[in-house]
Amino acid sequence: MILFAGETFAWALRPPFRAGLVLQQMAFVGVGSAFIVGVTGTFAGMVLALQMNVALRQFAAEGYVGGSVGFSLARELAPVFTALMITGRSGSAIATELGTMRVTEQIDAMETMAVNPIHYLVVPRVVASLLMFPVLTMLFNLMGYGGAFVMGVFVARIPIGPFIFHTQELVDQHDVGAGLFKAIVFGLIVSVITTWRGYAAAGGARGVGEGTTRGVVASSIAILLADYAITFVTVGT
C-alpha cells in the first residue's frame, strides 16, 4: 500500500491534470455525502447539547453548553464523525467501483490503451477527498452547532447571550483549524486505503466484496488511530 500511495503522489504531480474528473469526484464525495453528514451533524449537536445541559446544570453553568458543544465538535466530533460517514458512503462505493473495474479487466484495458489507471482513476479520487473532507467537516460543525443552539436555547431555555458569549470564549480559529487539519489527514487515509483495496481486488464478486469490507474497516480503524495520534501530539497528556 505504501508503494501504491507513493505512486499516487508521483502521478498527482504529472500532467495532464484532469480537472473534470476531480470535479466529478468532488460532486460524488462531497455533494453526495452532504445530506448524511448534515443529518449526522445536526443530531450529534442536539444530543450533545442535551447531555451537556444535564451535566453543567449541576454546577449552574448551563451557559457553557454552546461553548462545550462547539469545542467538542470543532476539535473532535466533526472531523471524526464526518470521516466515518464518508467512509461508509463514498469510501465503500470507491472500493467497489475500482474492484469491479479490476475484476472485469477494465483497469487492464486502460493500461493497454496507454493510460495509467492510477493517474486516471486514483489521483482524482484522492484529490477530491483531500478537498471535500474539510468542507464536509465544516458543514458538520455548522449543522451540529445549529442543532445544539436549537436544543440549548429553545428546549433547555438557556439564555441566548451566555450561550453565544461562552462559545466565542471557548472556541477560536485554532480549534476549528485543528479539526480541519484532521479532516485533511482523514481524507488522505480514507481515499488511499479504499482506492488501494479496490485497485488490488481479485477473485470476482467475492473479491470485490472482501476488498470493500476490508477497505471500510481499515479506513475506520485508521481514522481512530490517526485521531488519537494527532490529538496526543497537539494536545499532549
Binding site: P16, M101, T104, E105, D108, A109, M110, T112, M113, A114
Partner: protein, 248 residues
Amino acid sequence: MIEVRDLYKSFGDNHVLRGISLTIPRGTTYVVLGGSGSGKTVLMKHVIGLLEPDRGEVLVAGTRITGLRGRALTEARRVFGMVFQGAALFDSMTVLENVTFPLTEARQGARLPLSEVRRRAIEKLAVVDLGEDVLDQYPAQLSGGMRKRVALARALVSDPQIVLYDEPTTGLDPITTDYVDGMILNAKRRLGITSMVISHDVASAFKVADRLALLYDGHLAAEGTPAEVRESKEPFVQRFLSTWFEKQ
C-alpha cells in the same frame, strides 16, 4: 513483428509457461489455442507488458517490451489494440466515450478536435457494422456480440499495428461467432493489422489463422500453419483437435 523468446512464468508452484518461443510476422493472424487454464491469457499479457516473465523476453517491432516501465512502456503500447474476453468496456461511459477513450485520454499531448475524434469513432464503428444509433448507449444496454464489436472498434480507433484478441468468440452464439471471425479477417485485410488471437475455439482458430500454436502444459505442443498443426502426431494435439474435426 512480435517475437517471444524462451518465456517462463510461474505463480507460486503453478508453472504456467515453460519456455515458450514464437514469432508472429507482420500482417499475419496468429492463433494460440489451448484448454482453459493453459496459460493463453498469461502469454498474451506478457506480449503487451501487463505481466513480467520470470525468464525470457518479448520483442515487439524490435523493441524489448520485457522490463520496460512507466513512460517507456506506455509508448511501446501505442502500437497495440486489445480486445478483452469480456470486452472490458468502461461501464460508466457511453459507446462514443468508450471508443474515443484512446484518442481523448491516451494522446493528451496531441489533442485532436472533438469533431475529428467523433468522426474516427463513427468510422471504426462502421468497420464492425455498428451505426451512429449506438453512440449514446451504455455497455449494459448492448448484447454480448455488440459489446465485442464496440471493443474491437475501440481497439482499432488509434490505428494500431497489432491487435490482441483474448477469447473473442467465447460465450457467443454460432452466428455471432461467425461474425466476429469475419471481423478479425476484415481487420487484417482492410487495415493490414497483425493479430494475435487467444482461443479454445478450434473452428474459429482454423478459420482466421495464418499460423497456429497449441499451448499445453506450459509449452507449445504444436506450431505451424493450420494444415501443419492438423497433421501433428502429438497425442494431445490430436485429442484436442479431434473434439471438433470428428464432428465435421
